[in-house]
């Protein structure tokens, strides 16, 4: 028996997982990106190479790691390299095709803030900061983003440029000498977004099953644009839901949050 009712979070992770292929080499952020990447590996993309910034290359964990450096990532990896080697040879060397990141705050061009709310010198809220993101955002072939929609998260203007997306849009990325594609996909709990080919503003290309345009707009701080042919995201299949739920249950058990 599979209950085909699903949550918006499950739809987000599964829709994100579908964007990944077996031939991808993916630098994985913790949280929803990690869940999406491992659902892909455990379903339609068994040969995907997952890389975590702790230096684990080609890892295949049985539970979602709490941190980017959990022991199982190393135990199941093809190779574990030092952190300087990871950032120099593998990321800067251009060997990673996709960087998969989450965001605390994002603007319509995929610029991300995980550093500060308010002023840098006098912060209202001090967030963790960028970690690997500033260089992941510019050194990976392209960037996939995932986040839950909210007025606090999707804003007209971010407080700090932790990592660069398309800047102010159009050709600004190229003008800075960045040769990689930048953000090419955004998956939220309500929709799939892709950058407009000219302006680079994220544009809704698919609404998740049962979601209205109004719902997308009221949870987004900028004027939402919809592509000419908005499609409907296929709901999760029983197999996809089963893979995700098993993974999340095993994870909670392993982290002592469930028995």
């Amino acid at each position: 028996m599979t209950d085909l009712a699903f949550t918006a979070d499950e739809m987000m992770i599964i829709a994100a997982s579908r964007a990944l292929k077996s031939e991808d080499v993916c630098f994985v952020g913790i949280g929803a990106p990690s869940a999406a990447c491992n659902v892909a590996r455990l379903s339609h993309a068994p040969d995907i190479t997952l890389i975590y910034e702790s230096g684990t290359i080609g890892t295949a964990p049985s539970v979602l790691p709490l941190s980017i450096g959990d022991g199982e990532l190393c135990e199941t990896a093809v190779a574990t390299v030092s952190v300087p080697e990871m950032f120099r040879y593998w990321l800067q060397g251009g060997r990673i095709s996709i960087g998969f990141l989450g965001a605390a705050q994002m603007d319509r061009f995929g610029n991300i803030n995980t550093t500060i709310i308010g002023d840098y010198e006098n912060p209202k809220t001090r967030l963790p900061g960028g970690g690997g993101a500033p260089e992941i955002a510019t050194s990976c072939g392209e960037i996939f983003l995932t986040m839950k929609q909210s007025l606090r998260g999707m804003v007209e203007k971010i407080d700090f440029f932790t990592s660069y997306g398309h800047g102010a849009g159009h050709g600004e990325r190229q003008e800075l000498g960045i040769t990689t594609k930048g953000p090419s996909l955004l998956v939220t709990d309500l929709a799939i977004w892709k950058p407009d080919p000219v302006t680079k503003q994220f544009t809704v290309s698919s609404l998740h099953s049962g979601v209205t345009r109004e719902q997308v707009q009221v949870t987004c701080g900028w004027q939402v644009q919809f592509s000419e042919n908005v499609t409907t995201t296929l709901p999760p299949t029983p197999d996809e839901l089963s893979v995700l739920r098993t993974l999340q249950h095993q994870t909670k058990v392993a982290h002592g949050q469930e028995t």
Partner: protein
């Protein structure tokens, strides 16, 4: 030859008030025991260097030991924010805290430059990123061959680096396995390197020829502290105590709760206590 010392002696002989000190370990092998000993010995005015401040610097900052922290990701990995770090940055509690913030790539490159004996690190980074506008130690250089503009940051050369490792042999060579992070670079970049280990073995005759080893003449002092990484982990010895990381969020959320926890589990505790704390995370071999 390496000095085998008690943890108390290893810390007191190598750390001084006002030092620039690094306690490294990228999620794995975080030298908690050494940091707790530094807390018990009440060092002050330290510049704390570490890519991911993590719980270990949240504790040291909350105990008022730091004047400055140099870092690249100040979160509780997979859990959320570091609440003592936040309280220091946002409210100057228990004291004002200077910050020098980088990206991971910059810190890793800066340690490597420090270990390499050159004055700065060069890499393709910070493009379009805001940190270079708020950190004057992030600058640019132009490649003399291609003209490409690249990022530059000063080398990191701590007065002392503390790391935790799996084992040392009788001669004092140190073996690090698993997620090796940035420890080799941080140890070689420092004036003095102090290592806590899970155990001492006779020799390393059975290890792989390409294993990550710090020869004894690069290490100032070694202390045997089983469980010395808890709640981080030691690959091959015990697993990460993820529940403690989750609980830390609640402990660190309140100043009084934090101080009473530190009194019970750090100030009134002994290095030997960590062995008990990791007991249930040891896997049957």
């Amino acid at each position: 030859m390496t000095n085998f010392l008690s943890l108390t002696e290893a810390v007191s002989q190598n750390l001084s008030h006002g030092d620039t000190v690094s306690f490294e370990g990228f999620t794995h092998l975080i030298p908690h025991a050494a940091a707790h000993e530094a807390i018990r010995q009440q060092f002050t005015n330290l510049t704390l260097v570490r890519m991911t401040p993590d719980i270990v610097y949240d504790q040291m900052i909350g105990m008022g030991m730091a004047k400055k922290v140099v870092f690249s990701y100040a979160g509780n990995p997979g859990v959320g924010l570091l609440r003592r770090f936040r309280d220091a940055v946002e409210n100057a509690w228990p004291a004002p805290l200077l910050i020098e913030e980088h990206s991971h790539a910059a810190m890793a490159n800066a340690y490597e430059a420090g270990a390499s004996g050159i004055p700065f690190a060069v890499f393709r980074g910070y493009r379009g990123a805001g940190l270079k506008n708020v950190n004057t130690n992030i600058r640019a250089v132009r490649c003399p061959f291609t003209g490409e503009e690249l990022a530059a940051v000063p080398a990191l050369n701590p007065d002392v680096t503390f790391i935790h490792a799996q084992k040392a042999n009788r001669k004092g060579d140190v073996l690090i396995e698993g997620i090796i992070g940035v420890q080799k670079e941080a140890a070689l970049a420092a004036k003095r390197a102090v290592v806590t280990v899970e155990e001492i073995v006779e020799d390393f005759d059975d290890v792989h020829p390409n294993a990550c080893i710090l020869p004894n003449w690069t290490v100032s002092a070694i202390s045997v502290v089983p469980g010395g990484a808890h709640p981080s982990y030691a690959h091959g010895y015990y697993e990460r105590d993820n529940a403690s990381y989750i609980q830390w969020d609640e402990i660190a959320a309140d100043r009084e709760h934090f101080l009473s926890w530190m009194t019970e589990f750090v100030l009134d505790a002994l290095p030997e206590d960590l062995d008990d704390r990791v007991a249930k995370f040891r896997r049957a071999v």
